[in-house]
Amino acid sequence: METENLRTVFINELMIMAEDDKRIAVLDPDVGSATHTWDFGQKYPKQFYELGIAEQNTYGVAAGLAAAGCKVVAATFAVFASMRAAEMVRTSICYPKLNVKVIGGYAGLSNGKDGATHQSVEDVAIMRSFPNMTILVPSDIVTTKKIAHVALEYEGPVYIRMEYEDLPAVYDENMDFRIGKGYRVREGKDCTVVSYGTALHRALQAVEVLSREGISLEVIDMPSLKPFDEDLLVESVRKTGALITIEDHNIIGGLASIASEYLFKNGVLAGFKPLAIKDIFTESGKTTELRDKYGIGTKDIIEAARELKSRGEKR
């Protein structure tokens, strides 16, 4: 299957849009070779601002450029965007609702080798607590393209969380991508698996294995974490009676928290297995090895589904 790195897909779309849209301004705090914003800078030097190793200033400048009328895309690693620049994003960008797209690259464990300092497992918790912030997370080539367009068309702050991985397309190019909408990627009846980002691909691998055991998984992708498709979650979990959430994020404040909040609010009680980093600092290693180690790999989904199924049968 043809794969492509999500950052390449995103920057290519941005370059296509910038051809006709001089309002687009891309900011880089010296990670352009990693985020691939350098490619943009080579092609559109007048729309590219290198700001050096200074994330706080980068997001402050982003606010000013947006206030002056630019559609700003400021890209760095998720860990720095969400923490080093957190207050600038909150007060200078979200508070006045400025048109800045904050790109959090190498999110989750996708920067495996660099270890805990560069792995971002808190960013969703932080970013979703900022009023006026929208959070979008691409899960494949198609959603990456769609998010590039939808985010740039939307007037206001957006946090785009990206795991920089080579992935195939899951969706059809003609999908109707909308902010606030979730997608049922596989229909099933025994257990709902909800994911965002690259975890979708692990969920789909689990579907194959479990179907051979007679366990039917329903897979839901939530590329819009905020606003969140509450209706789809509630409808699916009411149907299956069991939920697995899977994410490259701490168990505190990410999808496990979001799903719990909405299910409880809607009075839905179900078997629940939240697969996430268990509130510890992670370590260096290959991304796939780390996901297995921290219980967020494909095998963990399979085991969780088996357990939920057996619990359901006992009931």
Binding site: K22, A25, K46, Q47, Y49, L51, G52, A54, Q56, N57, Y59, G60, V61, A62, A63, G64, L65, A66, A67, A68, G69, C70, E87, M88, T91, S92, Y95, P96, K97
Partner: protein, 277 residues
Amino acid sequence: MNNSSSLTFLKRKANELRLAVVDMIFRSDISSGHFGGSMSAAEIVTVLYWHQMKVDPAKPCWENRDRLVLSKGHSVPVVYAALAHKGYFSKDILKTYREKDSILQGHPDCRKTPGLDVSSGSLGQGLSVALGMALGARHFGKDYHVYALLSDGETEEGMVWEAAMAAAHYKVDNLTAIIDYNNLQVDGSPKDIMNIEPLEDKFRAFGWGCLTTDGHDIESIIAAFKLRESHKGPFAIICKTVKGKGVSYMENSIEWHCTAIDDAGYKQAYEELKAKI
């Protein structure tokens, strides 16, 4: 208006703004607010709004307007006073400062107050936002100027120097920082809390033009802006001021950074300021 009557007008206006600051805080529901840094910046703000900045109160979002980034956001009472006196909104609204449902928040909210260009108040962020606006002018081929008003203590924030470095790197001619050097931060004088000197040298070392002037002398402030015009690249004007300027018991007093005022205090402040108008 000839030059001397213009100066008389500006001097008078600065004290009118001071009186409006004391008045708005006293008349607000808990009679409490940021006096010290508002009073110290009165001449600076007066020169900006009545002499220097190209603005139109009838069109607060006019694209080509000059911008003021009030990085020392707590001093917003003097800017509210200026905006009301310029006609951005009614002077009656001033007394709602820091009250529930008011358009006049405790720190600037540009989505609520007509005439404010930026939401600010967390010290250290404004110079970066101002730089972004200055680059934005260049991005769209416009020639407006961006002024950032900082406090002296604020330069202790590291982000200020990230912005200073980047502004020099981008050689922005349309960015001017003004430092309201009133020599008092919340806990005391910068020389005791965290020495910021030599401030002029620091800006120069970062690639800025810089001069120091008397921040209560209208002619000196105007002259500083005039001199700035001949300088290429970013420029900082350090304005030596007195915190609480204009009301004897507030001057150089750490207690009057942000506090409540009672009837007797208001009466004295009113009389002292009225005598200057």
